[in-house]
């Protein structure tokens, strides 16, 4: 039972991650591989707020979101001048920069040794200590995250994001300040994934740079594309399936090292297959295959 809750908690965290990245990739058409880095920013910010200042849930959670959003806005400025594959390369460099900071800013992040002993957050005197209790904490977080993204994409703001995805130059011709929208998309996407990072850090109670690598960014991107870009439900489906499926390997007594490799092979293979045969993913509405207007 505890194990099932563990899986559900991880699924919840990844739903937030996928939904936030979908906002960027699926709705605005900005492909980024810096997401694991931004996830890490949230995780470290939250962890440090909790371990240094003994902050409660509110301070840590909001702090993680704020810091991640700020860094995300900076990364988003890359999107103002670069598009498509050049943007991917630029976000790759940003991702490696962030990883380098996690690994080398030893005074703050403790470098490769990581941040240990992250306490469970306290929320109005309640401290979720068991898996069940932490699960109960993640439920409203996921709900709020999905609500935020849903509101954004269904609003006039979201309409502009989609217009940028369809034809950015035409959007500009209609008077849309597209740089503002792209940075705003990055900012909100980063804030959301920062929240996921906070939850992750306070669940596993130990974080180190190896969780926030370029490889992890690729896996996050895979979830969004396999689940389906451009549709919120696609990210939920993608996260649920791709996070829980590899867990079945445990039941087959596969040793955990090999299971980790197989999990990644699964993601990589599905990504290639989706690009080849089903660009919309499981239930997406937007495919990156269409030639964008230039």
């Amino acid at each position: 039972m505890d194990y099932l809750l563990h899986i559900l908690i991880v699924v919840h965290v990844y739903i937030i991650v996928a939904v936030s990245l979908n906002l960027l990739v699926g709705y605005t058409g900005l492909v980024s591989v810096a997401h694991a880095g931004l996830y890490g920013v949230g995780a470290y910010a939250g962890a440090l707020l909790s371990t240094w200042y003994g902050g409660g849930f509110a301070v840590g959670f909001l702090g993680a979101i704020a810091v991640a959003a700020a860094v995300g806005a900076l990364v988003g400025m890359l999107a103002v001048r670069l598009r498509d594959d050049l943007l991917v390369i630029a976000t790759l460099c940003a991702q490696m920069l962030l990883y380098s900071v996690f690994n080398n800013w030893i005074e703050v992040t403790n470098g490769p040794l990581g941040v240990a002993g992250i306490p469970r957050p306290t929320l109005f005197g309640w401290k979720p200590s068991s898996n069940l209790e932490f699960f109960l904490l993640t439920v409203p977080c996921v709900a709020i995250a999905c609500w935020v993204v849903l509101r954004l994409v269904q609003s006039p703001f979201g309409r502009v994001l989609r217009s940028i995805r369809e034809d950015e130059l035409y959007a500009q011709a209609l008077g849309k300040n597209t740089p503002y929208y792209k940075v705003a998309a990055f900012l909100s996407s980063a804030g959301l994934v920062g929240a996921a990072g906070y939850l992750y850090a306070h669940y596993v109670r130990f974080i180190d740079p190896t969780s926030f690598t370029f490889m992890e960014s690729i896996l996050m991107l895979s979830i969004v594309i396999i689940g389906g870009a451009g549709r919120l439900f696609g990210s939920v489906v993608g996260a649920v399936i791709l996070v829980s499926a590899p867990e079945l390997l445990r039941f087959l007594d596969v040793p955990s090292g090999i299971a980790a490799n197989i999990r990644q092979v699964l993601y990589g293979a599905l990504l290639v297959l989706v690009v080849l045969f089903r660009p919309l993913g499981i239930c997406g509405t937007y495919t990156l295959s269409r030639r964008r207007a230039t």
């Binding site: 935020v148 703001f157 309409r159 034809d167 209609l174 849309k176 300040n177």
Partner: protein, 264 residues
């Protein structure tokens, strides 16, 4: 006799669009060569000329998609040369493109709403926190969008993805969106090229309405000379980047300049 150079030299803020001595070269060829014009307001002005005459380049420079090598463009006495395309659009200048640009994956209504939507409503915080989906501003925006769709006759297609419309309908939608931005100056690049006859009439009626009933200033590029002669108040002939004629339709018919330009 006032000419365009002297109009540029002194400030006359009532003029909507002034192009002053604009030049642009591409790899050695002069696409626009010392072109000047003061566009008459609340009228339809057409620019004609053979392919490669520099007409679309001129539009691209005015609307901010290209920077000129020399010269300036003034919109209500405001210089446009250093502004971004979206800033120029927000000033009240709207354009359509020779190759149809449209948000194909979004519905006709969504395309319209993008043009009519209130700038405030589209901001991030406002969209996130505003709970008043039935607010007066939003209703006004929606009404304006549906009104324009009715004006151009696309109401029954409003929930169709714009990419599924016929070519002529997409041109109509482009025109509708240009109007929706509340622009006072519309630059229309070949609004009836490749369009069927009955649709041409519809577009023609809309354009004439916009100028004479709604006070918009229209500057358009076209090759369909019959259309041009029916709809224009002023015609400009352009060739090899230069303005070689400017005058009324009857004057143009009298002089042989247009034919000359096309035959050379």
């Amino acid at each position: 006799m006032l000419n365009d150079q002297s109009l540029c030299a002194d400030a006359m803020p009532q003029r909507l669009l002034r192009v002053c001595d604009l030049s642009k070269r591409f790899d050695g060829t002069c696409a626009v060569d010392g072109f000047s014009v003061t566009v008459p307001e609340r009228q339809v002005t057409s620019i004609v000329g053979p392919n490669g005459a520099g007409k679309t380049t001129l539009f691209n420079i005015i609307s901010g998609f290209l920077r000129p090598d020399a010269g300036a463009v003034f919109f209500r006495a405001e210089p446009l040369t250093n502004l971004a395309t979206w800033e120029i659009a927000q000033l009240g200048l709207s354009r359509t493109f020779q190759n149809i640009r449209i948000f194909g994956g979004m519905t006709v209504l969504e395309n319209m709403l993008l043009s009519t939507e209130n700038k405030m409503a589209e901001r991030f915080l406002h969209s996130l926190l505003s709970f008043r989906s039935g607010s007066p501003e939003q209703r006004r925006t929606a009404e304006k969008a549906t009104a324009i769709l009715e004006l151009v006759g696309l109401t029954d297609k409003r929930h169709v993805p714009a990419g599924d419309l016929s070519y002529g309908q997409q041109k109509l939608l482009n025109l509708a969106c240009a109007v929706g931005t509340d622009a006072s100056l519309l630059l229309l690049d070949e609004p009836v090229a490749g369009v069927q006859q009955d649709m041409i009439r519809r577009i023609e009626d809309v354009v004439r309405d916009l100028a004479h009933d709604h006070g918009k200033t229209i500057l358009l590029i076209e090759h369909d000379l019959e259309f041009v002669m029916r709809i224009s108040d002023t015609v400009i002939v352009m060739d090899l980047g230069k303005k070689i004629f400017e005058g009324s339709v009857s004057d143009m018919a009298a002089s042989g300049r247009v034919l000359e330009a096309y035959l050379n």
